[in-house]
């Protein structure tokens, strides 16, 4: 209730800010028109005299020191750029205030909508949008940022496992789409009645290649939210990424061809050959620059402040050099980012690493926001040429060819896949093919010698807006309704872990090599050769070591503050005190936190040949890598705990009742404080090194079973032993703090704790497994 009031207030504030900014901008624009020339410097006068002219300038008046001058034209360009960026960012703030909006309406829609509004305003005041979206600006400044982000945060392992499929869809799919749409549109052009006869084949193909660039950001967000299975996700992600490269190649090729009056077959062959050169060249350049970057960072331990710079400079260099040679710069920068990422992140300090990630994300978000925003503005302010037939047919063919393409391609590639795509998957793939930024930018920067450029612009904008709005908004309900195969995040039970081991074992038995073989080879090569060269070893400030040191410090502080020092970093493992009688029954409750912890132990310690990663990257968020840190912390904590276990176990609980079970009391912990603190830390992200003070017990007394050790009727004694597992990661999040996960990093897997758990208040009666000791074994119930 309060939050909605807050939301409204926040929205009002946001809107008024935006309006203010808008007015300011318009005003600034107007000022430019009325700008007076800056007064000429008066020291020209001595020069004038030598020409022996009568004083051209009037007697120099005694000019007073000007109190207030304004020289707008000097700052005009940076100022306007900044205002635009700010405006777009305000828009983003605006619709994240009420976060539910972004669930139902993808961000790109909202951005375009805001752009439309701004465009309408500008149109009303007869203002022109700044002519900054030129080809150079887009290709040299905006696109590399977006692509760098894609490459840097690409989930490499799923990608390489599916690389064949991804490339198949990206390359062949885009080709199929372009040629199909191009030819169909050309066929349409033949009909006189539509009035587009003057568009020749090359132009149609060019346009088709632009249209077929898929930008599935919105679809990806939806897929990730719903938790659609990994395969579809990575295929769409990879496709969106790599068909940028293909589209740009095609675009260049077709625009080159469009200039030529006649196309011969040799040109087609040359085109194909060129494609391969372009692709291979891009990858080569990327690798080169990636390795050089990694190597450079090996020596930067003394100049930590400029470490992030290398990442950006080298990637940008790769991009530019590739552009210079007209090979695929997109591929170059992606390969560069992938290559250098791991080595660089090991070489640089923790802060540099965070900085790099943040800046990459920031730049990419800004760039993309701007593009969508401009799309909205330009929609209103350019002159359009609307041709019903062409545009409607474009839309139609875009859908048809994409659907057909996915169908056919899947049929061909399914036999080669272990997990094959069902029809639902294919529908998801086809429907997720939204068009977006690249399409718009490419069409906007078409050379002007194409006489129907306005028609193309209109058609592309129509397609983009249609797909983004309609498909983007509807994809979520459709996918949920269709119940596409999801990742089984919640069923990660122990049994499942075991099953995975069994499968791995069988595969080993069969001498199965598939992707593991190459990965193994690469790993060996990597360890032996590459890492020796590229990674700086034996550094005192290795990031892991530094992290460890910090943890030690935190733990030391925690040790001093908390009773028994157990609150700080030790997640608890409930240990079992055996009864003298049949020790073979499980007899106590496990709290959800413990189970989580167990799952994590299992997943950490088990032999995982093929890890299934579940942490994809949302395009607008930083990736969540707190798991790796958690592993470190947990290891650390378990070692600590084992050291302290003997000295600090509470003896009292054991002696009282011999024949029952109780929880191992982690001294100093209790259920209430644990949950309460966890809630608090959830809500307010409390700095947990201060946590011990927040519990209202005086830190040093241990005997006061710090919390009501609840005596459950006559038999069970319980006490909460739970350290919220959220504790360990927090001491480090305020240092590392890079990741934008607002909730505790260990979100419990969606295990609904079965009825007998966690409800401490039930006094254990609901627990089926607590034995009634006074009644011996009343017979077992078998089902």
């Amino acid at each position: 209730m309060g939050s909605s009031v807050l939301c409204r207030a926040g929205i009002k504030r946001g809107v008024s800010c935006m309006l203010l900014l808008l007015l300011l901008f318009c005003f600034g624009g107007k000022c430019e028109v009325q700008e007076s020339k800056p007064s000429p410097p008066t020291n020209l006068q001595p020069v004038e005299n030598e020409f022996n002219q009568p004083q051209a300038y009037p007697e120099e008046e005694r000019a007073n020191l000007p109190m207030f001058t304004m020289d707008y034209s000097r700052i005009q360009i940076p100022f306007e750029i900044t205002l635009w960026v700010l405006l777009a960012s305000f828009a983003k703030i605006g619709f994240h205030i009420y976060h539910k909006i972004t669930i139902w309406i993808p961000e790109s829609c909202l951005l375009i909508a805001i752009g439309l509004i701004v465009g309408a305003i500008m149109h009303a005041v007869k203002e022109e949008p700044p002519a900054v979206l030129t080809s150079n600006v887009f290709f040299l400044y905006m696109l590399p940022l977006i692509v760098l982000d894609n490459g840097y945060f690409m989930p490499t392992r799923p990608f390489f496992e599916n690389v064949g499929t991804v490339l198949w869809y990206a390359v062949v799919g885009t080709l199929w789409n372009s040629i199909g749409i191009g030819l169909s549109l050309f066929a349409i052009c033949q009909f006189e009645v539509f009035g587009v006869q003057d568009i020749n084949l090359q132009e149609n193909l060019l346009f088709a290649s632009i249209i077929s660039a898929v930008d599935p950001v919105a679809a990806l967000n939806v897929f990730e939210d719903i938790g659609v299975n990994e395969q579809i996700y990575i295929v769409i992600f990879g496709e969106g990424l790599y068909n940028d490269a293909v589209t740009v190649v095609l675009y260049n090729m077709f625009s080159f061809l469009a200039d030529m009056p006649v196309v011969e077959s040799t040109d087609v062959f040359l085109g194909v050959a060129r494609f391969f050169i372009v692709a291979a060249g891009g990858i080569l350049f990327g690798l080169l620059f990636g390795f050089v970057a990694a190597f450079t960072t090996r020596f930067t331990h003394n100049v930590r402040q400029i470490e992030p710079l290398f990442v950006f400079m080298y990637s940008y260099l790769a991009y530019l050099v590739a552009e210079c040679f007209a090979i695929s710069s997109v591929l170059a920068i992606i390969t560069c980012a992938i290559t250098m990422k791991h080595y660089v992140e090991e070489n640089v300090s923790q802060r540099s690493c965070t900085t790099i990630r943040h800046v990459v994300k920031m730049l990419a978000t800004v760039s993309e926001t701007l593009i969508f925003f401009f799309l909205g503005v330009v929609t209103i302010t350019t002159e359009h040429e609307w041709n019903w037939a062409y545009i409607v047919f474009t839309l139609l063919f875009a859908f048809i060819w994409r659907g057909l393409g996915i169908l056919v391609l899947t049929q061909i590639i399914n036999p080669f896949r272990t997990i094959q795509f069902t029809f639902k998957d294919q529908f998801g793939l086809a429907y997720g093919g939204l068009r977006g930024a690249i399409c718009f930018a490419l069409v906007f920067t078409l050379p002007d010698n194409i006489n129907r450029k306005n028609l193309f612009v209109t058609a592309s904008i129509a397609v983009i807006i249609f797909t983004v709005f309609l498909q983007g908004i509807s994809i979520r309900p459709i996918v949920e309704y269709m119940n596409i195969r999801k990742t089984n995040k919640d069923l990660n039970t122990i049994n499942v872990e075991m099953m995975e081991h069994v499968v791995c074992g069988i595969e080993d038995l069969c001498g199965q090599w598939s992707h593991y073989y190459w990965k193994d080879k690469f790993k060996k090569f990597n360890d032996r050769v590459l890492r020796r060269i590229l990674v700086r070893d034996n550094r005192a400030e290795s990031s892991i070591v530094a992290l460890y040191k910090r943890l030690e410090l935190q733990n030391a502080i925690g040790l001093l503050d908390s009773p028994m020092g157990d609150l700080s970093a030790a997640p608890s493992i409930v240990s079992l005190y055996d009864e003298r009688k049949e020790a073979s029954r499980p007899k106590r409750k496990f709290l959800a936190g413990d189970v989580r912890k167990m799952h994590d132990i299992l997943s950490k310690n088990m032999y995982k040949i093929r890890q299934k990663t579940m942490a994809y990257t949302n395009k607008y968020n930083l990736p969540d890598d707190t798991r790796a840190k958690e592993i470190l912390i947990r290891r650390h904590a378990s070692i600590r705990r084992s050291l302290r276990a003997e000295s600090f176990r509470e003896p009292s609980a054991q002696n009282t009742f011999k024949s029952q079970k109780y929880y191992s009391l982690q001294p100093g912990g209790s259920l209430e404080t644990a949950f309460e603190l966890r809630r608090r830390s959830n809500g307010a992200d409390v700095d947990l090194s201060a946590r011990p003070q927040s519990s209202d017990v005086s830190p040093r007394s241990s005997s006061r079973s710090i919390l009501p050790m609840r005596r459950l009727n006559t038999i069970k004694e319980s006490g909460g032993a739970v350290e919220p597992p959220a504790v360990p990661p927090h001491p480090h999040t305020d240092q590392i703090d890079g990741d934008k996960d607002p909730h505790e990093p260990m979100q419990p897997p969606q295990l609904t704790p079965p009825g007998g758990w966690v409800r401490e208040t039930h006094n254990g009666e609901g627990n089926p497994l607590l034995r009634h000791p006074s009644q011996g074994s009343r017979g077992s119930v078998r089902f």
């Binding site: 399914n414 272990t418 094959q420 069902t422 195969r485 919640d490 069923l491 039970t493 122990i494 049994n495 499942v496 075991m498 099953m499 081991h501 069994v502 499968v503 074992g505 595969e507 080993d508 038995l509 069969c510 001498g511 199965q512 090599w513 073989y517 493992i573 409930v574 240990s575 073979s584 029954r585 499980p586 007899k587 106590r588 496990f590 413990d594 189970v595 132990i601 299992l602 950490k604 310690n605 088990m606 032999y607 290891r635 378990s638 084992s642 079965p754 009825g755 007998g756 758990w757 254990g764 609901g766 627990n767 089926p768 497994l769 034995r771 009634h772 074994s777 009343r778 077992s780 089902f783």
Partner: protein, 215 residues
């Protein structure tokens, strides 16, 4: 296999194909593998399995090996362990890992049961049809045997947690004095109901390359 050991001809394969559902090429590949593992002998024994280097790092190696020598997996409704297996039994066990063909939705359920039965048999070493806590603990111990920094109690508590999980999933609310004997196969099924094991527990047989065994 009889007298036709060296190169079983097509008729043998046809028989096997019908029983196990593998294709001819898969059977051929697996046969090559079998011969390699058994050093061209006719039967496989446990030692042969132990000599596979890759398998050595798998913590539940012994369970996997046992599974091969367990009559329950031979689909002949037998029980108890054997000491050596022939190619046919090898294939039978391997057939549990075959991917279901995507068209046959009806078969999915039975394929699922089969695979789950396999896993169940791996847990249930004493053949009594239930997985008791001891057996489960044993398995978890094995699973975690490769990790160093764990306490002894951890495996036990994990096993307890798992049992609890099954208990609550399958039996819901129990009286305080009731007592959970062990996981039966039905409970096991229920526990893993949402998990599409038929899609995950697959080995892509046609892409094997037997020479890499000698790494």
């Amino acid at each position: 296999m009889g007298a036709l050991q060296s190169s079983p001809g097509q008729p043998e394969y046809v028989d096997l194909k019908e029983k196990t559902g593998f294709s001819f090429s898969q059977i051929r590949v697996l046969h090559k593998r079998f011969k390699l593992l058994s050093h061209n002998g006719e039967t496989l024994k446990r030692d042969h399995f132990n000599s596979i280097p890759d398998l050595a790092c798998n913590p539940i190696r012994s369970q996997i090996i046992e599974a091969f020598f367990d009559r329950r997996n031979f689909r002949q409704n037998g029980e108890g362990p054997v000491d050596e297996i022939h190619f046919e039994e090898f294939l039978m066990v391997m057939s549990h890992f075959k991917a279901p063909s995507p068209r046959m939705i009806e078969e999915r359920e039975s394929v699922r049961r089969e695979k789950l039965r396999f896993i169940f048999n791996m847990h249930d070493t004493d053949n009594d049809g239930t997985i008791t806590l001891e057996e489960y603990r044993h398995v978890i111990d094995e699973l975690l045997s490769l990790s160093e920094a764990l306490e002894k109690d951890t495996a036990k508590s994990i096993a307890d947690a798992a049992m609890l999980e099954v208990a609550s999933t399958s039996m819901g609310h129990m009286e305080p004095d009731e007592f959970y004997e062990g996981i039966t196969f039905e409970h096991f099924l229920k526990l893993l109901k949402g998990f599409e094991i038929e899609l995950k527990m697959n080995v892509h047989f046609s892409m094997m390359d037997t020479p890499t065994f000698c790494k």
